[in-house]
Amino acid sequence: MLRLISTIAAGAIAALAVSGAAEAQDKIKIGYAISLSGPNAAGASITTVPNYKLWFHDIEAAGGLKLGETRVPIEVIEYDDQSSNEELIKAAERLVNQDKVDIMLSPWGTGMNLAVGATFAKYGYPHMAATAATDLAYEMAAKWPNSFWMLGTSTMGANALTEVLTKLHGAGKINAKVAMVSVADAFGIELSNASRPALAAAGFELVMDESYPITTEDFSQLINAAKASGADTFVAFSYPPDTFGLSGTAIALGYNPAAFYTAVGTAFSIYRDVILHDNVDGVLGIGGVDTDDPKFKDYAKRHLEVTGQPPDYWASPVTYASLEILQQAIERVGKIDREAIVKEIQTGTFDTVAGTIKLDRNVNPNVWWAGQWQNGEFHGLAPSSMAGAKEPVAPKPAWKPAP
């Protein structure tokens, strides 16, 4: 057995020592490490991995990436970071130093993108953080000029939500009381921190302001407390399992506030197809898209055809847009010159499935942050400056109990 282990070890070292030969640009190596297993796998497998697959499919269908006059085929290397940031950093180092990838794609999630940012920066790879929403975005972009924060900041999210609620309150659809719960995690804390002053400034009163730990299973007390609070508006800065749990519990306890808002996961198509079914209309959530935009419609159709699953209505198109930006920047530069590519992304204007994007200090300033399920689709509501923004509808129709 010892011999077997030493053989494996020797094999491992040999395999690790082999470095990709850096031949002339007859193919472009694209690599990424992402959470195929572990707690992050759910988000990654809904939002990020399918878009990467779609993008590779699209490039291959076009005969490769266009460098100058020629189309260069791509080679893809995928690693599983096991939802561990140490494994992520190791995999990123492996991609850069052993596999010698030309382009590295980003992992899924705010924490993972922040963790691997230093590695991207060390080697000067453009870092398209498409699933990181944080108020640290501008700070990180200044620290790592090669990093691009495609989902904007949490404060944008708080402001967009406040905008929607202000509209509803102005129309007399909801009272001025808000019950807010947030997941005890960077995401929930940032959004609730940003929402408190924004809601107060808009004249709302927080009659409930609680946080709950990740992996909470029983939401009955949060829902019952919200029910008893007298608020017409329920806001949850939640993660997908909690979004589903809170929604299911609200239905099962007959809690029908005029405005019901949950965060990550609301814009997933499984929220409609697996969790809420015909109860989905009227639910407010984080994210949104311009569902009438033909470019999005075409994108959604191809996403379903190629990957077998529909895109989500928030970060999916943004993720694909970030890949389009990367591709356009590469093709404009005409060769794998990462410094030039980074510069192009910083300054250029790009036409994408998520609209025309021009980054502001490396941060995408125009992102849908609040949306609503209307007629079975999740439409963007705010910021209302976004093209195609719809008007919010309230009160939400009462839940229909499921037998």
């Binding site: 959470s35 195929l36 297993s37 572990g38 707690p39 796998a41 759910a42 990654a44 497998s45 809904i46 719960v181 005890a184 609680e210 946080s211 709950y212 730990p213 992996t215 909470t216 299973e217 029983d218 009955s220 007390q221 949060l222 019952n224 407390a225 997908p240 399992p241 589903f244 749990g245 299911g248 519990t249 239905i251 099962a252 306890l253 007959g254 996961g265 499984i270 697996v274 969790i275 809420l276 079914h277 109990p401 499921a402 037998p403």
Partner: protein, 290 residues
């Protein structure tokens, strides 16, 4: 009103927790297998219920009749084919414990790996009995109430079976002292295999019940394993009554803290109670002294 809500919701959550831990108290307390892949079996039960519901419109309660026997056979096969060599090789309880920890750690990865390849990392769930019911003036979720009632029925039934039947007596004897049990003509290896299989069947049943009101993922088993371990150890390994009571204590404590103190401390209070109980009673609430 709030008091009634807390008590009823607490008992429901506690009943579900106890159900999650019942199988493990059999597997660890009696068959002496520390099964780190326990949660994966539970999650497999949840997926089986989902599949029956989504593809064949079979209600999860009826689904129990399919899932439980299947899980029993599968777990019995795991014991006979994979664990028996380790049991036979072990020279002491400590060695068996460390061997089975390492083995089931590997099994956990295998089951998760198969699940990921097959079902992916997505979140699954289905709406079942998603409606409010009124119990003594308190509104509760019909699906969770149903799950808790079934769990308590199974728990109490098992308790009666263990205390009132000859097989139950033999199982309790093995749990107290396998060597002594052998001396009174109990076929300990065979019984251990059956108890391990029963534990796996209970885990799958818990998975079915949980799937009625919660979402689940392929990778989510570990949380259930750890919850079950905490409850089993807190109640006293191998003690069914202890497991039921420990589950109820944690359920009530969580709900009370969520409503009256701070929902952010629900998991903290679980572990705090667990630690305090162990400091006061080093072998659990109903544990035998070591």
């Amino acid at each position: 009103m709030i008091a009634g809500d807390i008590i009823l919701s607490g008992v429901i959550l506690g009943g579900i927790y106890a159900m999650v831990a019942l199988g493990m108290t059999l597997q660890y307390g009696v068959a002496r297998i520390m099964n780190l892949a326990y949660g994966e079996i539970l999650v497999a039960g949840a997926f089986a219920a989902y599949w029956l519901y989504a593809s064949h419109a079979v209600s999860p309660i009826l689904g129990l009749a399919v899932v439980v026997p299947l899980a029993f056979v599968a777990n019995w096969a795991i014991y006979v084919l994979l664990l028996t060599p380790l049991v036979n090789r072990a020279r002491s309880r400590e060695q068996l414990e460390s061997d089975t920890i390492l083995f089931t750690f590997g099994l956990l990865f295998v089951l998760q790996g198969i699940g990921l390849a097959w079902l992916g990392g997505q979140i699954y769930g289905y709406p079942y009995l998603q409606l409010p019911v009124d119990v003594l003036g308190v509104t509760v979720q019909a699906n969770r109430l149903t799950a808790a009632v079934i769990a308590l029925v199974i728990g109490v039934g098992l308790y009666i079976a263990l205390t009132q039947t000859r097989t139950g007596m033999a199982i309790r004897a093995v749990s107290v002292d396998p060597r002594a049990a052998r001396l009174v003509a109990i076929d300990v290896p065979r019984l251990s295999g059956l108890v391990f299989a029963a534990g796996g069947a209970l885990a799958a049943a818990a998975g079915v019940l949980i799937s009625m009101s919660q979402t689940f993922t392929v990778g989510g088993g570990v949380l259930f394993t750890m919850k079950a371990l905490v409850i089993v150890i807190m109640g006293g390994a191998g003690n069914l009554g202890g497991t039921l009571i420990a589950g109820l204590i944690l359920g009530l404590a969580e709900i009370t803290v969520a409503r009256l103190v701070d929902p952010n401390l629900t998991i903290a209070v679980d572990f705090l109670i667990f630690l305090v109980v162990l400091m006061a009673r080093p072998t659990g609430i109903f544990g035998r002294s070591a």
